[in-house]
């Protein structure tokens, strides 16, 4: 057995893989946050709650209606996205033009509401979600075993991340979204329905969180608090990456997942805080964030 600094390589690789899976979730969540913030100027504190909601939607789907994993992958984000659009129409819309802090406070309240309701309906304890048949088992790579489902999570989230990047940076719809951020009245004068665009943006960002929730359901315990602890880490990731770029959110999410995985091998006690410590360093050295512009 080969070793690096007295630690078996297989252990390091295993933790790195787990780190990459976590990083994939960080990337998807910080991507959704970056989309919502970049295009609407709203910091969505409820992102973690929508992530939890996505997991619970999948759970209810399989328990109550016999809806399997694959349809849930589409249906749960759709349902949660619609709820997000409703919240944008009814509440968030009234805060445009005010100090962005109010958006943060409102979504914080929404997070409390959603998590409180989830806790009352489903209880505080965690529930498990079955791994889909197609992705059960592991592949032997020679130097380590790679669980199929985790490999799928990494591939799927990378695909979603780059798909979103392409949609916003390279398509006509994306150009309109960015134009709405630059100069909404002018875009509206060209005949584009800007309010609808904003509603769809929020719905889309929230749906990304829900999709991450469905992807995460088989590898974690589904509980009402699963999002609130994650969202703090994701905020730190966003501060590290800088909210300026979508690509930055993806890269820093994956990177920090890997670093966290490595910390679990070297010094497990610090694995909970390593992201926050890195954030503090980045603030000292480069306050705008690694990919940010100021």
């Amino acid at each position: 057995m080969t070793e690096i600094f007295g630690i078996p390589v297989a252990v390091i690789l295993g933790q790195l893989m787990l780190g990459l899976v976590n990083g994939a979730f960080y990337a998807m969540l910080s991507l959704g946050l970056a989309v919502i913030f970049g295009l609407m100027g709203v910091v969505n504190f409820a992102h973690g709650a929508f992530y939890a909601l996505g997991s619970f939607a999948a759970l209810v789907g399989v328990q109550q209606f016999g809806i399997g994993y694959w349809p849930a992958l589409v249906l749960a984000p759709l349902a949660v996205g619609l709820l997000g659009m409703l919240i944008e129409r009814l509440w968030l819309r009234r805060l445009y033009g005010l100090d962005p802090l109010y958006g943060l406070l409102l979504t914080f309240g929404v997070a409390l509401l959603l998590e409180g309701i989830l806790q009352q309906v489903f209880g505080a304890s965690g529930q498990s979600y079955p791994v889909p048949d197609l992705l059960q088992g592991a592949v032997n790579l020679g130097f380590m075993f790679l669980p199929r489902y985790r490999a799928w999570v990494i591939v799927a989230s990378l695909a979603v991340c780059f798909g979103t990047w392409f949609l916003i940076e390279r398509t006509r719809l994306g150009a309109r979204l960015r134009a709405a951020r630059e100069n909404a009245p002018l875009l509206q004068a060209f005949g584009v329905n800007v309010p609808l665009l904003l509603t769809m943006t929020y719905g889309g960002g929230v749906a990304l969180a829900a999709l991450a929730g469905v992807l995460a359901a088989p590898v974690i315990l589904v509980s009402p608090q699963m999002g609130s602890s994650l969202v703090t880490v994701v905020f730190a990731v966003v501060v590290i990456g800088g909210m300026g770029s979508i690509l930055g959110a993806i890269v820093s999410g994956l990177l920090l997942g890997l670093i966290e995985g490595l910390t679990k091998v070297v010094y497990p006690e610090a694995s909970n805080i390593v992201v926050f410590v890195i954030m503090a360093f980045v603030l000292l050295v480069r306050p705008a964030g690694l990919f940010g512009r100021e």
Binding site: L98, L104, F108, V110, L112, Q120, T232, V239, I273, F276
Partner: protein, 310 residues
């Protein structure tokens, strides 16, 4: 002006008479501790324009430090409170120094993340008692004479410190320092162009706010006799925001009123609605942000201003 002085005197007399009325003193003391905490938060947000989403870190650090000084080192309550306040101020120097490198919502996110860091440290550190926290912290005797075991004596100590905090905040806000702080809140670039060292003013505001939050936390430990993980948790950070928002951001008495309402709600609401408390708190949050951004005191002050201008 004279009616205001009369009002202050009346409020002071009512507060001083609480032990005679038979209201549970520990409840009122807890309320006052959270009122101090909310006032400290309001100093930062309402007068300094900085939203800290992790103010529980200061509250909880002081709560733990005070408890630890009493339980492990047998310090008197005076030393323990001073130690707690100092620890919170030192943490405020560190957190504030990092957080003011960003502005607005970024500052909020940085404070949230750093508070989470403090939470994990408190969870792991050897002297915090982990999940159980520090239990059975004795109140002792202040300066060796005043027996704080008596709820009445303790009550007057807390009330006196609470009044001192209110006066201190008024003095701070109306001082030249407070005026510059207000100018930075209104227009930071302009304050910079006028030659003010904006970062130093912000940092000082942060440290002052952290120290006062620490005073609230230190007193809370002595009043209730324990410090736990919930003192440093994100939900306490959220509660203090709600107290300030509900009472009125940037008003002197709004946070006090807000703290009174939220603490009372938590005390009695759980008996009525059970586990739905979080949902109710969330709903109040949403309603406040949407329809009631000035808060109770802010709305009252505005109504009076409108009436007097007619």
């Amino acid at each position: 002006m004279r009616t205001r002085t009369l009002l202050y005197c009346a409020a002071g007399l009512c507060a001083a008479a609480v032990p005679l009325t038979g209201i549970y003193p520990v409840f009122v003391m807890t309320l006052l501790c959270f009122a101090i905490f909310a006032c400290s938060f309001n100093l930062l947000l309402g007068f300094g324009g900085m939203l800290s989403f992790g103010h529980a870190a200061f509250f909880g650090t002081a709560a733990y430090t005070t408890g630890w000084l009493v339980a492990a080192h047998h310090c008197g309550p005076g030393t323990a409170i001073a130690g707690g306040v100092l620890a919170a101020a030192a943490l405020g120097l560190g957190v504030g120094g990092l957080a003011i490198r960003r502005q607005g919502i970024y500052l909020a996110m940085v404070t949230l993340a750093l508070a989470q860091l403090v939470y994990f440290v408190c969870l792991e550190a050897p002297f915090t008692g982990g999940e159980n926290g520090l239990q059975g912290v004795a109140r002792g005797a202040l300066f060796g004479v005043l027996p704080l075991q008596s709820d009445t004596v303790m009550y007057y100590l807390v009330l006196g410190l609470f009044a001192a905090v209110l006066v201190a905040i008024m003095r701070i806000v109306h001082s030249p320092f407070g005026q510059v702080l207000g100018a930075i809140r209104e227009n930071e670039s302009r304050a910079i162009s006028l030659g003010y060292d904006v970062q130093r003013y912000k940092l000082l505001a942060f440290v002052l706010s952290a120290a006062l939050a620490g005073l609230g936390g230190a007193l809370k430990t002595l009043v209730l006799g324990f410090a736990t993980l919930s003192d440093v948790s994100q939900s306490v950070s959220g509660e203090v925001i709600l107290m300030t928002l509900l009472g009125g951001i940037g008003t002197f008495f709004g946070p006090v009123l807000g703290a009174g309402i939220v603490v009372t709600l938590q005390e009695y609401l759980s008996e009525v609605v059970g586990g739905w408390v979080t949902v109710v708190i969330g709903a109040i949050f949403v309603a406040c942000v949407l329809a009631f951004r000035r808060g109770i005191v802010g709305t009252m002050l505005r109504a009076r201003r409108v009436r007097s201008s007619q």
